[in-house]
């Protein structure tokens, strides 16, 4: 009753006319996008112009111009049925401490954003990821609640029928022990199950008795009380590590192929408390060919070397697993990075890209990208892309089969350390890559208020030919930080490089904000 009342009370504008117009403009200008770069200049309202086809927006709303929170670890979901509808998350507290946490949403393709305080479990989430159902405004989320009764993590899986309604999300599952929930969803488009919504939530579930990499899947997630099946992905010994890594990522193809990847930890050395922990790990990919709708989900891919479920794409990789971010690492705590993306085109579910992080001599840490064209059985012998000193990898493949990699890279040394956020794209399967710098800012300011500084992940998706992504970065309004332009909703003066409070009278100290981008094909 309360939900219905509130739903009636508030309804976000849809802006369909605006979208059609915008799409026309994009089509017109896309060919010229590369050469028609306009000089960066200040516009009223906190915007720095960039090339056509690139939209980059600081999503903190104008009414929160006074906030100074560290809004790190962002995630994004775009409704494939209406790309005007976008939801984003970060470590953002409810400014008025109502007892629920917020997410950001846009109903105009990411141009403007509003905060919706509807996530149960405390004023702020521990971790949060979101996914649209695939066909409508229904939104799913996997969160870590702040109101865990003990020191264990407490995961909740949530759902709302309409992301724009300011009513509390429904709790579908709520239990102790899982960490870093990663939600992805899709709607079956053909066959007897057409119209059914499917939800996959990866997590590192410490209830897994050593084999902690887990996917909770619901084959009818829209049901009044969805049934979740808990699938332990790890089939090898985790040795002295006794667990897997926190990152469990999935990628779904419309033909029912679902990939998942995780760090299969094998041993550890050093001391976590002393911030010296090193982990030896495999990078493992598993696959299901029927949406997980079989008695033994995610057993479709076996490693030829040991005939065990899960292809080891990389073996014996070393990663640092930090307790705290170090200044030498730009304040960012390191602990690996993982992303997987399947080619969405028909008959292309066998083409899949994988990115993972590892420690490397000399450079400290790197991202590696490999590709498989035979459903994960074999992988490119060498990296199709390597990013030195890169982390927060996020892969996506668009409707043309072009692959994109979003990442954050530490450049420079000492006081000149910077965090750069890049989007690399390849339209030839990874043979060559373009490079777009979305942001570049000093890594020492603002000073972190907690870990993780930028987040343990960022995210990117592709819908149609467009890439939509989100990352967290310094919010200093300096046009040199955004070489391809940016728009701020919050009050900011790009001439003086100063943030302004909601009254526009007082300066506001810099902090970390989430930045949304949409990049045309």
């Amino acid at each position: 009753m309360r939900r219905a009342k509130r739903a009636k009370a508030v309804k976000a504008t849809r802006g369909k006319k605006v979208t059609r117009k915008a799409k026309k403009v994009t089509r017109k200008t896309k060919k010229a996008a590369v050469v028609r770069k306009k000089p960066a200049s200040r516009r009223a309202g906190g915007a720095v112009a960039g090339p056509a086809g690139i939209l980059l927006v600081n999503i903190i709303p104008k009414s929160l111009s006074s906030e100074t929170n560290q809004d790190s670890e962002p995630m994004i979901a775009v409704n494939p049925a209406n790309t005007d509808q976008i939801v984003a998350t970060a470590f953002t507290p409810d400014p008025l401490e109502s007892g629920s946490a917020p997410y950001f949403f846009s109903s105009d393709g990411g141009k403007t954003w509003t905060l919706n305080t509807v996530v149960p479990g405390g004023d702020m989430t521990g971790d949060i990821t979101v996914a649209f159902s695939g066909t409508g405004p229904a939104l799913y989320a996997g969160i870590l609640r702040q109101d865990s009764p003990g020191q264990s993590t407490r995961m909740a899986i949530l759902r709302t029928a309409d992301f724009s309604v300011p009513a509390p999300m429904d709790v579908l599952d709520d239990r102790l022990e899982p960490d870093q929930p990663f939600a992805q969803a899709a709607t079956v488009t053909n066959g007897s199950a057409a119209g059914t919504q499917r939800l996959y939530v990866g997590s590192n579930d410490f209830a897994g008795n050593g084999s902690t990499a887990t996917v909770d899947l619901a084959l009818d997630a829209a049901a009044p009380a969805p049934v979740f099946k808990k699938v332990r992905l790890e089939r090898r010994s985790t040795g002295t590590a006794g667990q897997d890594g926190p990152q469990v990522r999935t990628s779904i193809h419309s033909d029912g192929t679902v990939y998942a990847t995780f760090y299969g930890w094998r041993s550890q050395s050093g001391n976590f408390g002393a911030n010296t922990l090193k982990v030896k790990t495999d990078v493992v990919v598993v696959r299901d060919d029927k949406w997980g709708d079989n008695p033994k989900p995610f057993e479709s891919l076996r490693d030829a070397a040991d005939n065990v479920v899960g292809q080891r794409v990389a073996k014996g990789v070393t990663i640092s697993f930090n307790r705290n971010g170090l200044s030498a690492n730009g304040q960012q705590r390191m602990g690996g990075t993982l992303s997987i993306a399947v080619d969405p085109r028909s008959n292309k579910s066998g083409t899949v890209y994988l990115a993972w992080g590892s420690d490397e001599p000399g450079t400290g840490f790197s991202i590696h990208v490999k590709k498989s064209t035979n459903r994960g059985v074999t992988w490119s012998a060498n990296d199709i892309l390597t990013v030195q000193r890169g982390t927060n990898a996020a892969l996506a493949v668009n409707a043309d089969g072009a692959v994109g990699l979003l990442y954050q890279q530490l450049t420079g040394t000492g006081p000149a350390l910077r965090w750069e956020t890049h989007l690399r794209r390849s339209s030839n399967g990874g043979n060559s890559w373009s490079d777009l710098t979305l942001a570049t800012a000093p890594a020492s300011t603002p000073v972190k208020t907690f870990d993780p500084y930028l987040g343990d992940y960022d995210h990117m998706v592709a819908v149609g030919r467009d890439f939509y992504g989100i990352f967290s970065a310094s919010n200093v309004p300096d046009k040199a930080h955004f070489p391809n332009g940016v728009t701020y909703q919050r009050n900011a003066d790009f001439n003086t490089r100063v943030l302004r409070d909601v009254s526009n009278l007082h300066s506001v100290v810099p902090s970390i904000d989430p930045f949304f981008f949409k990049i045309g094909a």
Binding site: S63, L96, P149, F450, D451
Partner: protein
Amino acid sequence: MASITKESAAFVFRGTVKRKGAANLKAITDTGRTAVVTVEEIVRSPPAIAGFVGQDVTVRLADQEQVASGEKAVFYVTGFVFGERLAVQSVGHDSVTGARPMVAASTQAAGGDPTRAFRQTKARERAQAAPVVVTGKVVAVGLADSETTGATSAAITSRRVSEHEPFWREAVVEVEAVHKGTMPSQQCVLRFPGSSDVRWHRSPKFQAGQEGVFSLHPDRVTSSTRLGPAAHSLAASATTYTALSSADFQPADHPAEVAAAVSAAQSTATT
């Protein structure tokens, strides 16, 4: 989640109803129960929204709540929609005359700073909720037993590795006064997370020498079963506590917040 009342509302302001049945941000299209109100004075506010004096906000009225255009009132609100402008959810309003004693008392206690009034409200809430409230001083800080290498090295090496690990510490608090509950000895042990992870960063990180008011809860959070080295002089059976909210500790150099916590503790203490 506790229901929000006028007393606990995070945002309290005096304003004039500019337009009834109206809203000033695009996300709100149904204006049947909303009003645009000009903020004239903020009585209580978290820092992030303390700058709205002189601005119009949309107020969604509570069930049965009525206002008239031109009406001046003190509104008690919580968050609703944060967009290009601010919309808030009312939990009630009072006439300016009726609210005058509350506004005067709050303004005086907070020195006219609405963000300090907000902190006092939080201190009051935490002291009301805590079974034990004391004034004291941190005399020692150390690792919790679960973190010490000598006593539990096997546990340390076999435990989970999570970015959300709390890394428990212990503070020994010398108790100077008990405002609520019972404290059987002059010292007590307070466990707190040393972690800087997002899950724990808002919990107070205690250091030796800190003085103030502590709102204490018996420790039902940590897995420590024995006292750590900083608390070695205490009886092994000493009750251990936690203080995990940022408002669970009010430092002595914030006298108004200290007074709010002590007053709330005493008013809710059972005799």
